[in-house]
Structure formats: structure tokens, C-alpha cells
Symmetry: C2
Subunit: 104 residues, 2 copies
């Protein structure tokens, strides 16, 4: 359950923008991802590698190009993890409420 690296990766604005772009326009090359990104191509490459380390994207060679695509699995893991956290919070509040009422 390596959700921490994923959260850390998504916590950077440039990387979040890359993920969004991949979501909106589907799999694409580094060159296309760099367009309008506001940072250099190498910067984009570094971020893509970071996203890869976090298990959020995958790459496929296609001739001289390199096509990157999202890995929605890891994204879902993060979602479920956050849901689980929220649930624990609700449970804790319930226990506290019960404990207070018991004292009367």
C-alpha cells in the first residue's frame, strides 16, 4: 500500500497538471505534454519519471517517440485510502460520543 509516494507526486503543481493533461487528452508524447506546460522538456521528463516511480503513469516506446499513459489503478488506491481514513475519523467520533454519554 504505497500511497504516500503517490500523494507526494500529486502534490506538485507541474505534476498534477501533467496528470490532468493525460486524463483529458489521453496518452501522448513528451513533446506534446511539454506544449504550454511552462517548463522545459527535461523538466517534464523528470516529472514523468517521478510519476512513474509513484506508479501513476506507464510508458510505451513507439519508434522515436515515447508515449506516456495514466495508470488509473494507483489513483483509485489513493481514493480508497482517503475514504478509509475518513471512515476511521467517523468511527473515532462515534466512540468519543458514546464514552461521554456513558459518564452520565
Amino acid at each position: 500500500m504505497k500511497v504516500l509516494p503517490a500523494l507526494s507526486a500529486l502534490g506538485d503543481e507541474s505534476r498534477l497538471q501533467l496528470v490532468i493533461k493525460l486524463c483529458r487528452n489521453g496518452p501522448q508524447s513528451i513533446a506534446r505534454l511539454t506544449e504550454g506546460a511552462g517548463i522545459s522538456r527535461q523538466g517534464v521528463t523528470k516529472h514523468l519519471h517521478a510519476l512513474h516511480e509513484a506508479g501513476l503513469v506507464r510508458r510505451e516506446r513507439s519508434g522515436r517517440e515515447q508515449i506516456w499513459r495514466l495508470e488509473p489503478k494507483r489513483l483509485d488506491e489513493v481514493r480508497r485510502y482517503l475514504a478509509q481514513i475518513s471512515q476511521q475519523w467517523d468511527d473515532a467520533l462515534e466512540r468519543l460520543k458514546a464514552a461521554v454519554e456513558k459518564e452520565h
Copy 2:
């Protein structure tokens, strides 16, 4: 929709641990949050302020203590945001598939 600061805040291990501890054991003081955290009390304080900036926690004075509690709203916002992203990804794949089939 300021989900980026929240993601960034959750992307740090110490801060994620704090959130988890708050979820499991309910609202608590800085001193209690510092126990077993592996970092100094001031370190914990800084992280709590970061979480506050991100809208993830709230504080309430209680005598000489300061009780911090989770703000589950922002957590839900993040969850919904990620869900929305995933949806866009699915839509994009659907469009691509349709486009490919049209070419035949």
C-alpha cells in the same frame, strides 16, 4: 477548489502520520501528537500549521492546551477531485476507441 495544497500537505510522511493519528484517536493536543512521532514538538507544530493552511485541520484552545481536530470536508474534496480525474480518463479512452473504429 484548492485541492493542490491539500495534496501537497498529505504528501509529506510526518504530516500524513499526523492525519492518521488524528483519525484513529480523535482530537488531541500537540503533546499527545508528538508522542512516538519521531520528531520534535516544534516540528509537529509546524506540520500542524501546514495542515491548517491546507484546510485539513482545525484548532481549539482549551486552557493551556491546544486541541487539534481533523476537517474531513477538505479530505472529501480531494477524494471527489481524484474521482473526477479518473472519470475524465475513462472518457478520453472511450473517445479514442471510437475514433479508431471510425477510421475503418
